[in-house]
Symmetry: D3
Subunit: 123 residues, 6 copies
């Protein structure tokens, strides 16, 4: 456990709050090393970099996960994350709608349904 | 040809400059209506919306196209577009690198190669 | 609201019946403009075009959504749609089976499961 | 070599003409059994089935390959195939344009570029 | 029904046990020919080939389905299959973790969740 | 530069030889940190793990990249890598052919074409 892990854990908490802890906890019995990698590389290395603020990073992630359409659970986590770091609901729905252009209307529709679920969870 | 087309054409020019004109021109013999749709919906409707600034929209598009990995030509066009609307090279390489987390290292590597090509074209 | 919206709404009703209304209604609180875009572009512009009859358009859509595998909800809606515009159950299962060749057996298996659900809903 | 192979070879010739022979020939040194499987399963089993005419089968294939965006070579082969079995250029461009709705504008743009190439090859 | 079907059925039973029978049975009312194709081509032709042992074949399948992310049901079936033919839980979680490199962390996370479900079902 | 980097570099050399060095070198001007991440996470963390031998890891990677179809350059690199760590040509073509079952015939055909190119490069 080095510095990457510590700073990754702080960044994960900053973005995902308790959901981040739950993701890490759920991996402990099946793949504890993978729980560590998730803290270290995505959050310790990438999300900790300068050059792009956290809000823009979460916008990029919501865009990518909406467009890919293969990770609905992670999309919801990162819609929460985007809100946690200061993105507005409008910004999130705008970026999801925009994905209709690049990945098709079903991708955007499924992204909007995810946003609707997340917004309701926080109401 | 209504207002959507006119405002779409202005937005397309703002983002893509001459490349936008070329994309539209290349469609004239095979699918002229589709050339019109591209101006109207993505640029006249979506990119003209309030709620998300153009720089953030282009970041989201570069993220999505890098993650999808199926549209290398359009990725290069939108890296140019991101630079045209004021994104820095650093912001673009940061968002592409981040895609390694969500879509894998090959997607990010191919995105960085696209950025390298685009940066060289503008040198 | 112009002519595109009106003719899109008629086409959406022709293909999807009440399901189309529900999709549009479900978007009203989160992204009302997107509800309008769905009526206008896919149904007002594309599905209203001459050059391809509605049955063939729905076959193409069922093929694409089965192959992509990322939009199971929309696949079921369009299997209903294909039946609504006159495709037979045999034609639908044939096009889904054919996708095993192009997108693999799991894609076709999941498409057949969707068709089975839809056929049962209409029994 | 049984009946499936013979009827597959006839079907492959009917759809792809000399291109079909070339695909099979190109596999002889690296994977001769796979050359046989391509003749037997996609063409001997699937494309030979009743329940969907060849023109509709090729429309479905062009739709799927355009939407997937991962097989540009096979997309061009099947645009040729669609024309060989009697689809019009208009039908082909219509189905490709429609994919903008389900898989995004880049997928449709790349499909139209493939169609443009194929139409030029036949001029 | 020829030799391919018989040897495919034996191979399917060897890999998937009762689950294989259920998949085939579930297709009988909607697409009985497709049930036969699944036995014949994937299991009768491909999985029966020499040149790669069954354990390695199941590793390759778990890798592919994890990376694609579009077939969660089939991924669980093949994690069962991998265990049935002698892969260890460690080998399966290793190959799924490795997919983070090539298809992104969400793909690996969803794969690990599938493995966790399967391991619990066998407990 | 810690231990992860050193052991990653050794593993990268073991799998990819000079090609690995070239991939790292090509990133130096555009994204030097990403060059470091590639050495550290995929090769220093994942490929260095016990629990799965290198040959099986490369089989899994070739399977995944063939099935995804979005990273043809990386597929060729890892076909070289598979051969470098001791996989036979037969094993590689077997795993690629098997992907026809899970990702469709075009994915397998494109994978076989990549293998043919790589085998010729080593002749």
């Amino acid at each position: 456990m080095d510095d990457r892990y510590e700073r990754g854990l702080r960044k994960l908490g900053e973005i995902d709050g308790k959901q981040g802890e739950q993701i890490v906890a759920a991996l402990q019995d099946i793949a504890p090393d993978f729980a560590r990698y998730i803290v270290e590389f995505p959050f310790g290395d990438i999300y900790n970099r300068a050059g792009l603020d956290l809000r823009t990073r979460e916008i990029a992630t919501v865009a990518a996960l909406t467009a890919m359409g293969t990770a609905p659970t992670q999309l919801r986590v990162h819609i929460h994350g985007a809100l946690n770091v200061g993105c507005s609901r409008t910004e999130i729905t705008e970026v999801i709608m925009q994905m209709a252009v690049f990945a098709g209307f079903p991708a955007a529709l499924n992204g909007l349904a995810a946003a609707k679920t997340v917004f309701a969870e926080r109401a």
